[in-house]
C-alpha cells in the first residue's frame, strides 16, 4: 500500500522540528516546491525548506574571483526559484548584491523569462569594501526576519559558520527563505545552511521552432543541479531544463523539467550553418 504523501510530509516536518531542539519554526511546512516530483520527493522537506537558508554554488570550474561575476546559469536558476517563491508566497523578492558600476546587474526583461516579476523585486546594493560582508549579512538577516519577503537572494562570498548560523536563526525566526549565491572555490568552510547545491550550465537541447527541432539554435536553458548536501537528505544530481511557452514539448506553464541523462547528440551539421539560423529566426518571428 503506497504511503500517504500528506502523512509523510507531516512526519518529516515533525522530525525537522525535533532536530531543531523542539523550537520548530511555525513556518516549517512553508516549503518551496520545485514543482518536480523527482526533486520534491527526494528532499526531506518536499521542496526547499522554508525558514531556512540554502546555498547555491556556481559550478563553473573556471569562474573565479578574477572574472568577477557569477555566470548566467546560477543567476537564472536562482531567478527561477525566486519566481516560484514570488507566486507561491505572493510576496516580493529581495536580492542583495555588491554595488559596483563595472559589474553586471540583474536585468528585468531577462528575469521575466524565468517567471520572476521584476516589478516586485527589491534590489539591495551593498558598497564593496572592508565592511561589505558585515553589511550584506546584516541586510540579509533583516530581510529574512521580515515576514513580507518571499525569498531573499544574496551574493555573499565570505561566510563562516557563525555568520551562517545567524542567518539560519533569522530565517527560522521570520520564516524567510534565503538563497546564498556563491562561487565554488575549492574547500568551502562548513556552514549552517540547510542545503547546498551546485549549479552548472549544460549545453542545451534542441530549440523548438514552429514544431521543428533545430539543433544549432540555443535551446531552453539547461542546468546540472547537484544537491551536494542536505540536512536529513541524500546528495543527488539532476539535469534540469527550463520549459517556457516557446518550448512546445511541454505544457504552456513555465517551470522546471527533468532532462533524461545526456546521450550522445549529433553534432550540428556544418552545411546547415548560418542560413538555417536565419531561417529559424524568421520562422520564429512569423510564428
Amino acid at each position: 500500500m503506497p504511503a500517504n504523501p500528506l502523512l509523510l510530509q507531516r512526519l518529516r516536518s515533525r522530525i525537522a522540528a525535533i532536530e531543531r531542539d523542539g523550537t520548530g519554526s511555525p513556518h516549517t511546512g512553508d516549503h518551496l516546491a520545485f514543482g518536480l516530483p523527482h526533486i520534491d520527493d527526494h528532499l526531506p522537506w518536499g521542496g526547499l525548506a522554508g525558514g531556512a537558508v540554502h546555498e547555491i554554488l556556481d559550478g563553473d570550474p573556471r569562474t573565479n574571483s578574477k572574472t568577477g561575476c557569477l555566470n548566467g546559469a546560477i543567476t537564472s536558476f536562482a531567478a527561477a526559484l525566486a519566481g516560484r517563491a514570488q507566486v507561491a508566497r505572493a510576496s516580493p523578492i529581495v536580492w542583495i548584491a555588491p554595488r559596483s558600476d563595472a559589474r553586471e546587474s540583474l536585468y528585468g526583461p531577462g528575469l521575466t523569462a524565468f517567471g520572476l516579476d521584476p516589478a516586485h523585486l527589491i534590489a539591495v546594493r551593498v558598497p564593496i569594501g572592508s565592511e561589505f560582508a558585515a553589511t550584506a549579512l546584516w541586510a540579509m538577516e533583516e530581510a529574512l526576519r521580515a515576514t513580507a519577503v518571499g525569498i531573499v537572494c544574496a551574493e555573499i562570498e565570505d561566510l563562516d559558520l557563525t555568520a551562517s548560523r545567524r542567518l539560519q536563526l533569522a530565517a527560522e525566526a521570520g520564516g524567510g527563505l534565503g538563497l546564498l549565491l556563491r562561487k565554488d572555490e575549492g574547500a568551502l568552510p562548513p556552514t549552517a545552511s540547510v542545503s547546498r547545491w551546485r549549479i552548472t550550465a549544460l549545453p542545451s537541447g534542441p530549440a523548438h521552432v514552429a514544431g521543428a527541432k533545430i539543433t544549432n539554435l540555443p535551446g531552453p536553458a539547461r542546468w546540472r543541479a547537484e544537491l551536494v548536501r542536505a540536512r536529513g537528505g541524500q546528495p543527488k544530481t539532476w539535469q534540469l531544463e527550463w520549459k517556457d511557452d516557446a518550448n512546445e514539448d511541454h505544457d504552456a506553464a513555465d517551470g522546471f523539467a527533468v532532462v533524461p541523462p545526456l546521450r550522445d547528440r549529433p553534432l550540428p551539421e556544418a552545411d546547415q550553418g548560418a542560413a538555417a539560423i536565419r531561417i529559424a529566426l524568421e520562422t520564429r518571428q512569423t510564428a
Partner: protein, 508 residues
C-alpha cells in the same frame, strides 16, 4: 588676526589684551609691532569665521528654532540673532535663559554678551552698548526700549564707520540726539539709513531677518539635568521624544516621512541624524529602529564620568531635539479583521526603511520598465523609498529573449567571425576563450536617433547600429554578444575596417 589688504598687512581683529595695549583693527601690522613687540599674529580666515558663526547659529537652535547669524555684514562685533518669542519660559524666564546662553558660550570658549529687547535693533544695541550685570546680559524691559537706547552712542544703530564720523562731527553722539532731529535734514545729509535704523530700533518699522534654517512645525526638545554619554540613555531619551511627537502627529492625523534628531554636545558641536520612511508613519517602534541604526554608528561615547576638560566631556550630550521635517497626511490606523493582509505591506515598507537608512536610499532600488528599444535603457532603477512598486508588469515582456544579467557597460571582446553578418565562431572575454556551438541572431537594434545626444544617458557608448546574437559555448554557457556598426557602411567593397564585438549580457 591679520590679513593682507591694499599692499599692507592689516589687523582685522584684536584681543581684549591687545586692545588695552593700543592695538585696533585696521592698523598695519608694522605699526602694531612697533606698539607691542610681543604681539602674536594669526592669519585671518573670513570664510572660516562665517562657517563657525553659521555653526553657532545651528547650535543656538537649542533655544529657539528661529536663529540667524549676524554681524559679518552689519559691521561691529559679530553676533547671533535669536527670536525667543514664546520660548523663554521653557528656560525659566528671560534672565535665566540669557544667563544660560552666555554661560554656555563662555564654557565653550567664546566671549559673549547678550541683549534682549522688543526689537532686533534695540537688542543689538543692548548687547553691545548696554551696561551688563555680572552675567554679561542686558535686558531692556518690555516697552522700555525707546528711553533705554536713547542713551546709547550712535554706533549702536549699526551704521558704517564713515557715517558715524560725520555724525560725530555734527556733535550727534547719542541716539537720543539723533531721534530729536527733523527727519528731512538727516536724510538729506546722510541718506535714509540712519532714519531707517532708528525706526527699526524703535519698532516703528519691521526688520525682516532670514533665519538660519526654516523652522519645522513638528519639533520637540528635551534638555537633560545631567549630560548623557551612554548610547542607551540617548536612545531612551530619543524614544520619549519620539512617542510625544507621534502622539502629536496622531492628533493631527499626520505621519512622518522624514525625521531629524539633533544631538547638542557640551562642546558646542551638533550631530544631526536623519531618517526617511517610504510612507508616512507614526509608529514609535518603527521610527525608533530607523534612528537607532544611525545612533549606533555615532562615534563611541565616553564610558564613565570623564575629566571635565577632556574631549570626551565635550562629546557628552546635553540637549536633544526631534523634528519631523516632512509629514504626510495619515489617517487613523484601521485594524483589518483578519489582521494579516495589511500587515504584510507595512512589514515590507519597514524593511525598506531600515535598509535604506543604513545603506542609503539609492542602494535599495526597485526596477521600472521603459518603452524603448535600447537594452540598457529598458530598465531604470528608482529608490524603493520613493517608489511604491506599483509599476505595471507589461513593459517587461521583451519581444526577443533577453539575458537575466546585463553588464553595466558592454565589454569589448576579441571575436572571430569569418563570415560577415554571421555570429562569431569563438570569442575571448576576460581572458577566457569561448567556442561557440550554437547561435541565434542577428537581432538588429538601431540607435534612437530621435533622442537628443544629451538624453542618451551614460551607458550608451556609441549611437551605432547593433546586431545582437545569442550564443552558447561548448560548456553550455550563454552570452549576449553584439557587433557594432554595419558591414556595408563606409568602404565601397562592403568590408569594414574592423568590426567591433561586445559582450552585453549573460544568459541562463
Amino acid at each position: 588676526m591679520a590679513m593682507p589688504e591694499g599692499g599692507a598687512v592689516r589687523l582685522t581683529a584684536v584681543t581684549l589684551a591687545a586692545q588695552k595695549a593700543g592695538l585696533s583693527p585696521g592698523q598695519s601690522l608694522a605699526d602694531a609691532r612697533a606698539l607691542e613687540p610681543a604681539v602674536v599674529v594669526h592669519d585671518a580666515d573670513p570664510d572660516g569665521d562665517t562657517a563657525a558663526l553659521e555653526a553657532l547659529a545651528g547650535w543656538a537652535t537649542r533655544y529657539t528654532p528661529w536663529t540667524a547669524a549676524s554681524g559679518l555684514e552689519t559691521g561691529g562685533a559679530v553676533g547671533l540673532w535669536l527670536d525667543v518669542s514664546g520660548c523663554a519660559h521653557l528656560f525659566g524666564g528671560e534672565a535665566a535663559m540669557l544667563d544660560d546662553l552666555t554661560g554656555r558660550l563662555t564654557a565653550i570658549g567664546y566671549t559673549a554678551r547678550a541683549g534682549l529687547a522688543d526689537t532686533a535693533g534695540a537688542a543689538w544695541a543692548a548687547a553691545r552698548f548696554g551696561k551688563p550685570g555680572k552675567s554679561r546680559t542686558v535686558i531692556l524691559p518690555a516697552g522700555g526700549h525707546a528711553p533705554a537706547i536713547a542713551a546709547f552712542p550712535t554706533a549702536a544703530l549699526r551704521l558704517p564707520p564713515d557715517m558715524l564720523d560725520g555724525l560725530d562731527r555734527l556733535g550727534l553722539r547719542d541716539i537720543g540726539d539723533l531721534a530729536d532731529l527733523p527727519r528731512a535734514g538727516l536724510t538729506r545729509r546722510f541718506g535714509e539709513l540712519p532714519a531707517r535704523r532708528l525706526d527699526q530700533a524703535l519698532g516703528r518699522i519691521d526688520e525682516p531677518i532670514s533665519p538660519h534654517a526654516p523652522a519645522p512645525v513638528w519639533r520637540l526638545r528635551t534638555a537633560f539635568p545631567e549630560v548623557l554619554g551612554r548610547e542607551e540613555d540617548i536612545a531612551a531619551a530619543a524614544r520619549n521624544l519620539l512617542e510625544a511627537l507621534c502622539n502629536r502627529l496622531a492628533r493631527a492625523e499626520r505621519g512622518a516621512r522624514r525625521l531629524e534628531l539633533c544631538l547638542y554636545r557640551v562642546g558646542g558641536r551638533v550631530d544631526t541624524l536623519t531618517a526617511g520612511t517610504s510612507r508616512a508613519s507614526r509608529e514609535p517602534d518603527h521610527l525608533m529602529r530607523l534612528l537607532a541604526e544611525q545612533l549606533e554608528r555615532l562615534p563611541e561615547p565616553p564610558t564613565s564620568a570623564p575629566d571635565p576638560l577632556s574631549a570626551a566631556a565635550e562629546a557628552m550630550i546635553e540637549t536633544l531635539t526631534l523634528a519631523a521635517t516632512r509629514t504626510d497626511p495619515l489617517r487613523a490606523a484601521q485594524v483589518s479583521l483578519d489582521n494579516s493582509r495589511d500587515a504584510e505591506p507595512a512589514a515590507l515598507e519597514r524593511l525598506i526603511d531600515r535598509l535604506s537608512g543604513r545603506l542609503g536610499a539609492d542602494n535599495v532600488m526597485r526596477f521600472a520598465a521603459h518603452e524603448t528599444h535600447l537594452p540598457e535603457r529598458v530598465q531604470a532603477s528608482v529608490p524603493a523609498l520613493k517608489e511604491r512598486g506599483k509599476s505595471p508588469t507589461e513593459g517587461w515582456q521583451p519581444p526577443q529573449p533577453r539575458p537575466p544579467r546585463l553588464l553595466a557597460r558592454p565589454e569589448p571582446v576579441e571575436a572571430i567571425a569569418p563570415v560577415p553578418d554571421d555570429p562569431p565562431v569563438m570569442f575571448r572575454w576576460r581572458g577566457r576563450l569561448h567556442r561557440i556551438t550554437r547561435a541565434e541572431g542577428p537581432e538588429r537594434i538601431e540607435p534612437e536617433w530621435w533622442r537628443a545626444p544629451a538624453d542618451t544617458g551614460t551607458t550608451v557608448l556609441d549611437a551605432d547600429t547593433r546586431d545582437y546574437y545569442r550564443v552558447e559555448d561548448a560548456d553550455g554557457q550563454r552570452f549576449w554578444l553584439y557587433r557594432e556598426g554595419l558591414y556595408d557602411r563606409g568602404s565601397p567593397d562592403c568590408a569594414p575596417a574592423t568590426p567591433r564585438w561586445f559582450l552585453h549580457g549573460l544568459f541562463g
